[in-house]
């Protein structure tokens, strides 16, 4: 049977919350995938190698040098990376993703975003939770578009920026 919802749990402001992610319909998924291919994938392709784990069995000076080199690479590319996504595109993607998430409250499931407005106070000012949900929605919805593993490996780089649950 086709899976059209997925539940995840993580902490928001010290409290564990349960979220339900819903599938986009085909038309919404296609447009989001188009934006993802145009804008998001090149960002993480440019950062190739930045997020690979640093070996632990090397000297501290070498570790410091690698970290310094990677930080410089990110900072050098940051302005052009950020310019690839306009504010409107970012807002569109965030809203589209958050509109497909429900959070479990004592009264039942409540949409995280209703139209342009937040449906839950706790999430309105928590950028990490919003980014985490953004990643989870993209991963759940676009995984099949890119053949599962390919998108996961790309989006895992975004996930590495997020604090663990």
């Amino acid at each position: 049977m086709r899976e059209i919802t997925k539940e995840i749990k993580f902490d928001v402001d010290g409290r564990e919350m349960t979220f339900q992610i819903r599938k986009f319909d085909v038309l919404k998924a296609t447009y989001v995938a188009k934006l993802a291919i145009e804008k998001i994938v090149p960002i993480f392709t440019t950062l190739e190698g930045v997020m690979t784990p640093i070996p632990k069995d090397i000297k501290k000076e070498e570790i410091d040098a690698i970290v310094k080199e990677r930080t410089a690479k990110v900072m050098d590319n940051l302005p052009s990376l950020l310019s690839k996504l306009t504010e409107d595109e970012l807002n569109f993607l965030m809203k589209r993703c958050l509109q497909h998430v429900d959070v479990l409250l004592p009264a039942g499931w409540q949409p995280v975003m209703i139209g342009d407005k937040f449906g839950v106070d706790e999430l309105e000012y928590d950028e990490w939770a919003a980014l985490r949900l953004f990643y989870e929605v993209l991963e759940f919805n676009l995984g099949s578009f890119f053949g599962g593993k390919n998108l996961s490996s790309i989006l895992n780089r975004l996930n590495s920026f997020l604090p663990s649950a």
Partner: protein
């Protein structure tokens, strides 16, 4: 010739939000239509008169009242309010959380264009909303009670 006075009002021009931490929040005015009315329950002043006709004017504090939310059926706001009423009716947890609903109405054109915010606290459903089935779309009425009204 007398001047023609006119005024303009639309539910689309106000932002009305209902919020309870265990239910979530919803912008009621996004439904696009409907009506929100509320009225104070108590008197502001009362007169006490003696046999000699002496009158004492008593000023009384009364911030509570009743209200009615008329919301188009099958909108997000209607779905939210049905969920809210069912939750308030069936809740088994601490009663203190029952009174946490707030209803905020922001009118940007109020107060001569300076903006006016009315906050109702301790909002509870007075009774369940009426159920009706009809061919044309209509409004569902939610009678409410509130404990305190704050106007800015």
């Amino acid at each position: 010739m007398a001047k023609q006075n006119f005024s303009y009002y639309s539910l689309l021009d106000i932002v009305s939000t209902m919020n309870h931490p265990d239910v979530g929040k919803c912008c009621l005015s996004d439904a696009g239509g409907g009506q929100i009315t509320f009225s104070s329950a108590g008197d502001m002043f009362s007169n006490t008169k003696t046999a000699t006709g002496y009158v004492t004017i008593n000023r009384m504090r009364s911030e509570d009242g009743t209200g009615q939310l008329e919301i188009p059926v099958n909108t997000q706001a209607d779905v939210y309010l049905l969920k809210w009423v069912a939750f308030m009716k069936n809740r088994k947890t601490k009663t203190a959380r029952t009174v946490l609903t707030t209803l905020t109405i922001f009118d940007p054109l109020g107060n001569n264009g300076k903006g006016k915010t009315i906050t109702l606290k301790g909002v509870v459903p007075q009774k369940e909303a009426d159920i009706n089935y009809q061919q044309t779309a209509g409004n569902r009425t939610y009678p409410i009670l509130y404990a305190e009204k704050i106007e800015k």
